[in-house]
């Protein structure tokens, strides 16, 4: 008797308690056979697509590694020849892009050193003149 009363009692369920999982479960239950097959196939396709993308990403990573080594070799060659240079390079890598800038500026360093020495000389001269 108690059980019957419980069955007759209205089910209280708040609409706001519906979660994304509930919606998905409900949607899955409502699919017909063809839709269910399509969904299974798409899910499998996605697994394959992600696996292919991973393999491609690994290839990009290996290629980027080789290209970076070439870049360093080129920079070293330029170093041996002397003079200023700047190399900007962008590599497509496994997870995105890597931008590299390598620069050497001997003349800029020389100018800064010369300016500092000049300034020191002027200061020394002023101090000398004031002290005299």
């Amino acid at each position: 008797m108690v059980d019957e009363n419980e069955e007759l009692a209205p089910q209280k369920q708040s609409l706001f308690d519906v979660t994304a999982d509930d919606i998905l479960d409900n949607a899955l239950r409502n699919l017909d056979d063809k839709q269910a097959r399509d969904v299974t196939k798409k899910a499998a396709d996605e697994v394959v697509r992600i696996a292919i993308e991973k393999r491609l990403a690994e290839h990009r990573s290996n290629a980027a590694h080789d290209e970076m080594r070439n870049l360093v070799n080129n920079a070293n060659l330029l170093d041996q020849r002397g003079g200023d240079y700047q190399i900007n390079s962008t590599f497509e890598t496994a997870t995105g892009t890597t931008q590299v800038q390598i620069r050497r500026s001997k003349s800029t360093t020389a100018i800064i050193i010369a300016a500092a020495v000049g300034l020191l000389l002027i200061l020394s001269l002023i101090i000398f003149l004031v002290a005299r």
Binding site: K42, E46, A57, G96, T98
Partner: protein, 229 residues
């Protein structure tokens, strides 16, 4: 007296013309879609080539050879924004065709819509080759969690009612899982990238500046990388 009458008439004429043109510009044109609708057509037309061919095949099947020919010839101009597709084109591509699209094609359209309209996050930070993992991992984890919660804006959901069908609810879950897996995969691959980056920094002996951008489905993380401290 005469100049005043002429002036008054001129003023009345100008006021009438202004009213007429303003009213005309503001009145809704049933054949002209909103910018949002035109943008949606552009998004659909950015499908990859094989899927786009499927779409045009369906278009021809549903609306005839003439309409399909026009769509193909105007495609580039719609895509570039040079020509704004009219309301009929929007209705055809985004209201009628989904009814006859395969589940796979609808998923690809949904993928494009998610790429274009789900909100994205862009981070920029400075890391060194010793601490990058503890800086980047929480951000990627955040983006993985976001993949499961990402929603299209309400105005798009409201306009494209077919997105609320049961099969599209499941499509959404598949694509969300896919985006999460792509982000997890990126996190696994980034370790190897940092070995390359560290080696490059060492080889350039302080002459190199490196910026690495991680591209994830729901955003980017731009890292300015310094040598290990």
């Amino acid at each position: 007296m005469l100049p005043e009458v002429v002036l008054l008439s001129l003023m009345l004429l100008v006021a009438a013309a202004t009213y007429f043109f303003t009213r005309r510009a503001n009145s809704p044109n049933p054949t002209r879609p909103s910018k949002a609708e035109a943008d949606l057509v552009k998004v659909v037309l950015s499908l990859e080539q094989t899927k786009l061919e499927d779409l045009f095949r369906l278009y021809r099947q549903e609306f005839g050879a003439g309409a399909a020919r026009y769509a193909r010839t105007t495609y580039n101009r719609w895509k570039s924004g040079e020509v704004r597709p009219n309301r009929q084109t929007f209705n055809r591509f985004l209201m009628h065709l989904p009814d006859v699209m395969s589940f796979d094609l609808k998923c690809e359209v949904l993928r494009k819509l998610r790429q274009e309209y789900c909100s994205k996050e862009h981070y920029k930070l400075t890391v060194d080759t010793g601490n990058w993992k503890e800086m980047v991992a929480p951000l990627v984890t955040g983006m993985i969690n976001k993949s499961y919660k990402a929603e299209l804006p309400k105005h798009i959901e409201g306009r494209l009612r077919w997105l609320s069908a049961d099969d599209m609810q499941v499509a959404r879950a598949i694509l969300a899982e896919s985006q999460a897996q792509e982000s997890k995969q990126a996190m696994l691959l980034i370790g190897r990238e940092f070995i390359n980056i560290e080696q490059l920094l060492n080889d350039t002996k302080g002459r190199g500046k490196i910026t690495h951008t991680i591209k994830l489905p729901l955003g980017t993380i731009t890292l300015r990388v310094k040598g290990r401290r």
